[in-house]
């Protein structure tokens, strides 16, 4: 009986002890969580080749899952650097950009320094150091960096695009649009820039010009159902009977290209009901 009492007393003491440490535990837990999750390969049971292939897939698909990229990439760089060979440089670039997204400035700086050591005079590396300055919100220094690149090489598209991004980050939407228009006059085939311009116009609520940009994209990519669908959405937003008719046609086209596009299906339904109610009201008044 005595031993049982002692045992119960011992448990109670421990529970009380645990309560008083609760706040501290919560703070520690996040640190411990980090240490426990340190090894991606252990958690998901994958080898270094699979991690490298995953990174390549994310790179090609333009995925922006920065937290995952940082976890996987950091482990690849720190533990399997020798096995990667020449792939490591592009992985450094990918991990650096993801690290800037995740506020891991230490990791970004290490990657940048490695790249600088290997490619001392490269414009691409200078652009990356400019991006790092942008992430730290030192926009004037970043601008000077890009101007230096452009003086060296006036046709460098990457530096011009970064300058436009700086304008966007500072909230100067109209200037960014003007610069991007000038850029597109010279480099007409840049699909990414056209899509970016359409997004900027949508932010400024200038749907007519956004539709024009999407038309350019649709012309060069006739088989891409997503551009059709986005164009139809912009036309629907513009409103007015003609635009709604056009929107319905393009939703239907998007569905023809890909019958699994749920958004286009829903859009088709919405537009059809709007057109019907609009034409009904026109009939009643006219």
């Amino acid at each position: 009986m005595n031993t049982i009492k002692k045992y119960v007393f011992y448990c109670i003491i421990n529970v009380r002890h645990a309560h008083s440490w609760k706040a501290h535990d919560v703070a520690m837990a996040s640190v411990v969580k980090r240490e426990k999750m340190a090894s991606v390969s252990e958690m998901y049971d994958v080898g270094w080749e699979e991690m490298r292939d995953k990174l390549r897939k994310w790179r090609e698909d333009n995925c922006r899952n920065s937290e995952q990229i940082v976890d996987v990439g950091e482990e690849l760089i720190s533990e399997h650097a020798s096995k990667l060979g020449d792939d490591i440089w592009i992985i450094y670039e990918q991990v650096m950009i993801a690290a800037l997204d995740c506020s891991r400035d230490d990791l970004a700086l290490t990657c940048l320094q490695e790249l600088r050591k290997q490619f001392p005079d490269s414009h691409r590396v200078k652009r990356l150091s400019g991006m790092r300055l942008e992430a730290l919100e030192r926009y004037d220094e970043a601008n000077k960096h890009y101007d230096a690149i452009l003086q060296d090489d006036p046709t460098n598209t990457a530096a011009r695009k970064r300058k436009i991004s700086i304008l966007k980050a500072q909230g100067k939407g109209t200037e960014a649009i003007r610069e991007l228009n000038e850029y597109l006059e010279q480099f007409v085939g840049d699909q990414e820039a056209w899509h970016e311009l359409s997004e900027l116009y949508i932010n400024e609520h200038d749907y007519g010009k956004a539709a024009f940009c999407l038309e350019e994209l649709m012309m060069t990519n006739p088989h891409n159902h997503l551009y059709c669908e986005q164009y139809a959405e912009v036309k629907y937003t513009q409103g007015g009977l003609e635009n709604l008719e056009l929107s319905r046609k393009y939703f239907a086209q998007a569905l023809r290209l890909n019958n699994r596009n749920m958004r286009a299906l829903f859009g088709l339904y919405m537009v059809s009901t709007s057109v019907r109610s609009m034409s009904q009201s026109v009939q009643q008044t006219g």
């Binding site: 703070a27 996040s30 640190v31 980090r34 698909d61 333009n62 995925c63 922006r64 920065s66 937290e67 950009i97 800037l100 997204d101 995740c102 506020s103 891991r104 991006m131 942008e134 992430a135 919100e137 598209t157 990457a158 695009k161 970064r162 436009i164 991004s165 966007k168 980050a169 990414e192 820039a193 899509h195 970016e196 997004e199 088989h223 891409n224 159902h225 997503l226 986005q230 290209l257 890909n258 699994r260």
Partner: protein, 132 residues
């Protein structure tokens, strides 16, 4: 899959070797015909059979090594693409988003807590005042 692909590579290798062997024997047969002046005799059946069989085997093996076939339809490879990835323009990435604060490491949390307490009248406290 890796083991299977080395099997099919073996198949392709054997097929090519058999093809080369058949070609060599056909050449030998031709020179034999020329020596014995019987130029009207056709190639023996076994050489012809070996050529055809090794050709079929090589083709079959290559098809297995070549990887996944894609549909002829230009739009089909986009069927699984979504706006999540299409909207990302790597050359135009911005970094002044909430990820800069959200993903900050836990050691920096105390400073943000202090900032919160420094705010004059956080919204949730104002709501509670209304209730009273």
């Amino acid at each position: 899959i890796k083991m299977a692909s080395s099997f099919w590579k073996g198949v392709v290798g054997v097929g090519l070797f058999a093809l080369a062997h058949a070609a060599f024997s056909a050449a030998q047969h031709r020179s034999y015909m020329r020596l014995t002046e019987k130029e009207n005799e056709t190639l023996p059946v076994d050489i012809v059979l070996q050529t055809l069989l090794s050709f079929v085997m090589t083709c079959y093996g290559i098809v297995h090594i070549a990887g996944e076939f894609k549909d002829m339809d230009a739009s089909s490879e986009l069927k699984n693409k979504t706006f999540d990835t299409l909207r990302n323009h790597p050359s135009f990435y911005l970094f002044n988003h909430r990820g800069r604060v959200l993903f900050r490491s836990p050691e920096e949390e105390p400073s943000s807590v202090r900032n919160q307490q420094a705010l004059p009248n956080p919204i949730r406290l104002r709501k509670l005042e209304h209730l009273h």
